[in-house]
Symmetry: C2
């Protein structure tokens, strides 16, 4: 799993099916996100294809009402834009029933970029306002299976990434973080096997595009990511609570795993997990290019210095501004393709300022340099805050979050 | 896994590949053992097809020399008749290096029949004469995946079967019994994933005959049976002993799992597991028929009473004797198809008596009834001894054998 708002780019081509290639359609699966040649991801089409629903304003209003808090910026700005049965979660919550959150990350790299933070920032908000428990799966097994890394390296990266995740502000009284290589077993393994008995080879080929030359590790993995959707996978947390609902915040490229999971759920006696799904976070070079996620200049990392951020934004962030100041003053910026505006819409909290910036920039009264300057300030502050928080995360805290333990106050 | 000397019969037809069907060849895989139409299993052909080696008399002599004990009846009578690298195990043992034994059982039924006991009786002998540790895998997950049973029922059967296994006389100081549903996890799971990364979907389709409609539980299972072949799957036993060799006593239908395992072993830094493989134990109705293993009248169960045994042998054991006493006295019995003689060759310890019986019966001087009478005595004694031993196995003993614990004296 890599439930990041993935950078758009051909992460791994091998899973693209021939059919997809022939039609030159956009490809969105857990290992590849690429738009139709020269275009952007068509999210309406994706919603249609996947069969999920758009998160409409009335649902966001309802969240505000139920939580007595202004909706998170990622809801207001449509970063989390699609869902499955999120309304059922809210119905249940309104009746006084609790639920639990489940998200995760495939720990394949030392440093996270901004896109990786998005589901965690949003999940932290959900945990805080709904006061519910959260399980975070680090799929070190998946990364071992898909990447050229050793088991030990994947386990090490899982712990390193756990520090970045903890730095997002999760509540230790309500949060259990686990690595598959350490936690799989017992009730969790039994659920993996229950799930794997209900999914055929043809189905995973259809859903994930696996081919005959792929190793069976790939075929075995989807039940590992499915299992945390069922409360009985965590007997130390949810013993006797088989009826507890699960809400999964993730980027929409993870939808295939959970479509599969939702198909299995009622057949083994559980609620279908609900989903709330985000857009992909664009690369600095823009939403159209096929940029590799491993290109350090395509993203802002949480380890980037102020100078790195300034340099990357000024040098690489694709601008919708015009070629000359004269032309810009005359025509204004094309906000549809402008990366600084996109990034600000993810991270600039102040709605009024964002609207003002878009208006002025779009009308040519504000220049690219000014918008980039504001973005550099916003991101530097965000990254600096994350860096301080991460530096405060000790190995003991990682052990504490990852300890298999009951959470007696998780619903209080 | 069902490392029994399986009754010959179509246990599950669904895994027979079209190719096998077209050629009407014998089919031997972990889920089906069936001879060519109207014939017997051709073991020479099987050895050729699988690529293992015949266990020749010089190897048996060597076992006797190294252990200072007469070879087990199953070696003398050719019940264990094939091997892979058993000579390497003996070479290492001669150099003073130890090894460990690994066998197992798929716990799908309450009561074991005689065929199920064969690998355990033989493994108990190997443990005793070589003084080596033993791991016994109860593949309750496999049985759940292949049969219409619940997880809990499979776990219960695993514990019940463990009692029968313990009753075979294993040494608790050298024996670890585990159920997959309970033990899979940690180092064992990490090895499962290491293995699954090195086996393609095409390979398991070729080896096991899985089809697209099969669930992915089947595709995921072979690494579970492979993992115990590597010492690091048992850190509580073999920590720091990654170089320890493994010897697997099993029926030859399990060979496909371990061919796969042996292919993977050197690529992840381990010795290939060695194998010593048995014939299949024939059904009462004979070696040619396609009898279901679930037909209670096709086998002697360890729960059968003296009366049951007498009745089954007299009524169902296929006789090679002639239709009339006159003809029998004249032509003698056809020992090749005679089930009482087959069974005696598995279980009558006294070589001289067996030779005498075969000679007299083959010459028509002994009648079927007399041979059956002797077999009834032998089996009644065997079953009675097993029943007494099993009755003495308490739940505490099962817990003790299945406890994840170090075995400090396992090599002494």
């Amino acid at each position: 799993m890599d439930r990041k708002a993935a950078e758009i780019g051909a992460l791994e081509n091998e899973n693209e099916t021939q059919q997809d290639k022939d039609q030159e359609e956009q490809v969105v699966n857990p290992w590849e996100v690429s738009a139709k040649e020269g275009g952007k991801i068509d999210y309406d089409k994706l919603i249609d294809k996947f069969g999920c629903q758009r998160l409409d304003p009335s649902l966001i209003d309802r969240v505000e009402r139920l939580t007595s808090r202004r909706a998170h910026i990622f809801l207001r700005r449509g970063v989390f834009f699609a869902h499955r049965d999120f309304n059922d979660i809210l119905d249940a919550f309104e009746r006084g029933e609790k639920f639990y959150l489940y998200t995760g990350r495939g720990p394949s790299s030392e440093a996270l970029h901004l896109g990786h933070l998005i589901p965690f920032m949003f999940t932290q908000y959900l945990q805080e306002v709904f006061k519910v428990p959260l399980v975070i799966q680090l799929t070190d097994d998946e990364k071992f299976l898909w990447k050229n890394l050793t088991v030990e390296e994947c386990r090490r990266l899982a712990r390193e990434n756990a520090k970045d995740i903890i730095a997002c502000g999760f509540d230790i009284r309500r949060t259990f973080i686990f690595s598959d290589f350490d936690y799989v077993g017992g009730a969790f393994y039994r659920n993996m096997v229950e799930i794997s008995k209900r999914v055929t080879c043809n189905q995973v080929v259809g859903i994930f595009g696996f081919i005959g030359e792929d190793h069976i590790g790939k075929y075995s993995f989807p039940p590992v990511q499915a299992a945390p959707s069922f409360p009985s996978s965590f007997p130390h947390l949810f013993s006797g609570k088989d009826n507890l609902r699960c809400l999964i915040p993730c980027a929409i490229d993870q939808d295939p795993y959970f479509r599969m999971t939702r198909d299995v759920a009622p057949r083994i006696g559980y609620h279908k997990p609900a989903l709330i799904e985000s857009l992909f976070f664009p690369a600095l070079q823009g939403e159209t290019g096929k940029m590799s996620a491993s290109d350090p200049n395509s993203a802002i990392y949480v380890t980037d210095s102020e100078k790195d951020i300034k340099n990357k934004i000024n040098k690489y962030a694709f601008s919708g501004g015009q070629d000359s100041i004269e032309k810009h003053r005359q025509l204004g910026a094309n906000l549809e393709v402008d990366i600084p505006i996109k990034y600000l819409s993810f991270f600039l909290e102040d709605d009024a300022e964002l609207e003002h910036t878009k208006k002025e920039y779009g009308a040519g009264r504000m220049l690219t340099g000014e918008v980039k300057q504001r973005l550099i300030e916003v991101l530097t502050k965000l990254v600096e805050r994350h860096r301080r928080a991460r530096a405060a995360v000790t190995d003991e805290m990682v052990d504490a979050f990852m300890a298999v333990r009951p959470l007696p106050n998780m619903f209080n």
